[in-house]
Every structure is written in C-alpha cells, then in structure tokens.
Symmetry: C3
Subunit: 170 residues, 3 copies
C-alpha cells in the first residue's frame, strides 16, 4: 500500500531507521539487498547490516534486477529495499539505461501491493565533483530520488540518526 | 515586495519549484538566467530549462551583471533568478571581488519593488574539497546564501523535489 | 544539564548560532576551541572567530584532550564546544582510536553538569570521496554525530544561517 522513502547522507542512520519502520509492521519482513561486494570495505558493511537483522527477516539479493525482484514478491508483505544508491551504482557500472530502468523501478516500488520502505542517499549537497561519471551519477540519483519522492506517501530526511519529516507524517 | 530563497542540492528540483512559485503570480514573469555555456553539458541543461518555460516568460541573460539587471527592471513584476551559484562561479572565474559584489547583489534582490524568487545551491554538506579554489567557492557560496536568507521573507530547502520550510511559510 | 547539537555544513552559520544560544544563558561562558592551526587559512579563521566573542567568554584550547577538558570544568556553567569536526580531524591525523575516544567524548558531553552547546559538521551529503581516509573520516563523523544526537536534548540543522529543528524545541 504505502511507499516510504528514507533519504539521507552517509552514516546518517538511514538503514537502521528503515528497519525500525518495517519492524513495526506484521512479520515476515522481506529485505531486498542491492549491495554487491566489490572490496573488503563492502564485505564488512554487508555483514554488519545482516548481523543486525533478526530471524523474522527473509533476505533477497537484487543488485541489478530490483524491479523484477519487487514484482515477483507475494503482495501485501512489508518490504525493505536497501538501497537505491547501490542499485544505481551497479547499473551505471554495468552500463545500463538508467533513465528507463529508474522509471520501471519507480513503477515497481509504487505498484507493490503492500508497504515498501526504500532507502536512498542524498548525494547532491557538496561541491560539483571533478569527474564526469560522478556528475552523471549525481544527476541520475537526484532524478531517481525525485521520482520516488513524488510517488511516495511519506518521505523522511535523516539528520544524525533522526528523521525529519518532508512529506506525509509518521 | 517579498524575497524567496529556494535552496537545495544538485537535481533537487529547485528550478522547477521556483518556476511554480512564480507562475502562481500575475504574468508577465521575468526569468533572469545566469548560466553561461562553457561546454556541451551546460548547453544541454540551458536548453532543457528554457524549453520548460511557456510564452508568458521573458528571459534576460545576466551571467555577470546580475545586480544591474535586477536594478534595471520595472518594479512590481515577478522575477525569477536562476541561479546564484552559476553567477558566483562566473564572477570567481572572472576574478571579481565576490564579497563586495555579493553584498551589492543582496541589496538589489532585497530592494526590488516586487516578488523575487531566487535559486541557489547548498554546497557545504560534503567532505572538505581537496583544492583551494573549491574551498574558496564553498565559503563564498555559504556566505552569500546566509546573506540572502537573512533578508528573505521565505526560505525553502529542497529535498528530492519537495520543499522543506526553513523561514516564513507558504 | 541540557545538551544541544548544532549541526550543519561549511559556512552555514553554525558557530554564530551556537554562540547566540550560549549568550542567552548566565555568564561567564566557557568556549572550548578544538581548532589547530595547520596553515594560514586556519590561523585566519581562528582569529576571526575569536574576535567575534566578547569579554564574558573564557577560552580553553583542547584540540586533542576534549573529554578531559570537559570533565575538568566546574559544573553548571554554560559551555560551547566548537567543534567536533576539527577534534575528530586532529585525532585521526594523530592516529587515535577514534571509536573509543568518540564514545568517551559523548559521555563527557552528556555527563557535564550544565548546559553544553556543541557544534559539528554534517559531511555525508556529497558524492562518495575518492580517497579512503576521507571515507573513513566521513564514517567516523557520521557515527559521532549520531551518538551525540541520540544523547542530546536538542538538535538543530543549520541551513543558510537559519536553524531547522530536528529534535526538541527552542
């Protein structure tokens, strides 16, 4: 039913807050992970996040086919998607058509027949990046965030682990 | 009369929101563009923004003499200035006295005899940039944003296309 | 008694706002400075900040031993800590155990027997930094900000010199 976007910077407590939102709902909960371990830093982060979740969580990995993973789920069950930024990174590195894929993803998120909590990074509040790929990523991420926010019933912006209300209310 | 600052990151929907604010007012509307096309990326962005605006818009280009452009307008008509970040970039690359020019610009914005909506980027929420020019730009932009915000009747901070209220109310 | 976190980007008016919050309280006020002048840019900034403060301020320098400085103060008097970002920078460059030291610092901040206003930077809202040290710093800063925010009675997020309320109320 309801779509919630949890947006924030690095280490702003997005994932933890999103998990808390899902755990207020009736289990079982589905966790769709988009992380792909390119290096040791990532392996460590994935393991840390996974160890935090309890037995009522079922985990799916969808580093690329995120819309398909969402569309394949049984309707009505709470889903956490963590996160759009890693999915977008994976798709850009795989040279995907991110504009079209972003549009399809937004349809899958908004069209799911149950509560979806989706985590994404805000990456546009620093100085313009030096390299063109980073600028393209920043643009694609900003557009995707806007599209999701437009369709979302609720948007929160995380600041130091605390949610600020941007759209809807808790 | 009223001065509104629409602040946000890259691809946060600042320009679109600012246009919507102006289009609630009585036409004709004046659009003051500060963009200067240094490369193809910029040419494309300028064309995209321009194509979005309808026939009731009159466009002025003021990549450098922004205060003069504002002071030369007939009083009382709604004005959109898009954006302070490109103006500041142009002035720094032209080796202008940005502190003095920023002060003069703020007077022109606050002194215009009609509604002014001004768009600017927040650029200070990332890691300290490596190079000194980027640090100087970040400081100058932050100071300019503070000066405009202090004189503004209304300030909104854009998050994923949605305005958060910082000062005044809609 | 109360702990207030003033969080924001570069040139967002954090220090000025924090000083105003302290100056509403009964003097004398203690200013704990964490800045260490590595270069001329820093010397200039420190001097500028210092010149803004009046005679009722007593200044302590604690670029490294911040928890000790807090623990050594007489209880009950208003304290301004400016800022956590420079302290964390100093500790990382000195190869300190920043996780353990951050935890001890948060205890000292929360355990002080009087009003403490603490300034910190949000640095996680840009593109992922290229170099590993910057990424580690960004993570450590985000974690420290979350820990302080959790213990704080009040958290404000500065936007162009204006405080947005994140936790508690003014």
């Amino acid at each position: 039913m309801a779509l919630t976007l949890v947006l924030g910077g690095a280490r702003s407590g997005k994932s933890r807050h999103a998990e808390e939102l899902v755990e207020r709902l009736m289990p079982p909960w589905t966790y769709i992970a988009t992380a792909q371990a390119y290096d040791d830093e990532m392996v460590e982060r994935i393991a840390l996040h996974r160890s935090r979740r309890g037995a009522e969580w079922r985990t799916l990995d969808a580093p690329h086919d995120l819309a398909d993973a969402l569309n394949g789920l049984p309707a009505g069950r709470p889903v956490l998607v963590d996160c759009l930024t890693l999915w977008l990174t994976n798709r850009m590195l795989a040279d995907g058509d991110v504009a079209a894929e972003s549009a399809a993803l937004v349809e899958a998120l908004a069209g799911h027949g149950g509560p979806v909590i989706v985590v994404s990074n805000e990456v546009g509040l620093g100085i313009v990046p030096d390299n063109a790929l980073a600028r393209r990523f920043r643009d694609a991420q900003g557009r995707l965030n806007q599209m999701v926010a437009q369709r979302a019933d609720r948007v929160v912006f995380m600041v130091a682990g605390l949610p600020m209300n941007v759209k809807g209310s808790g």
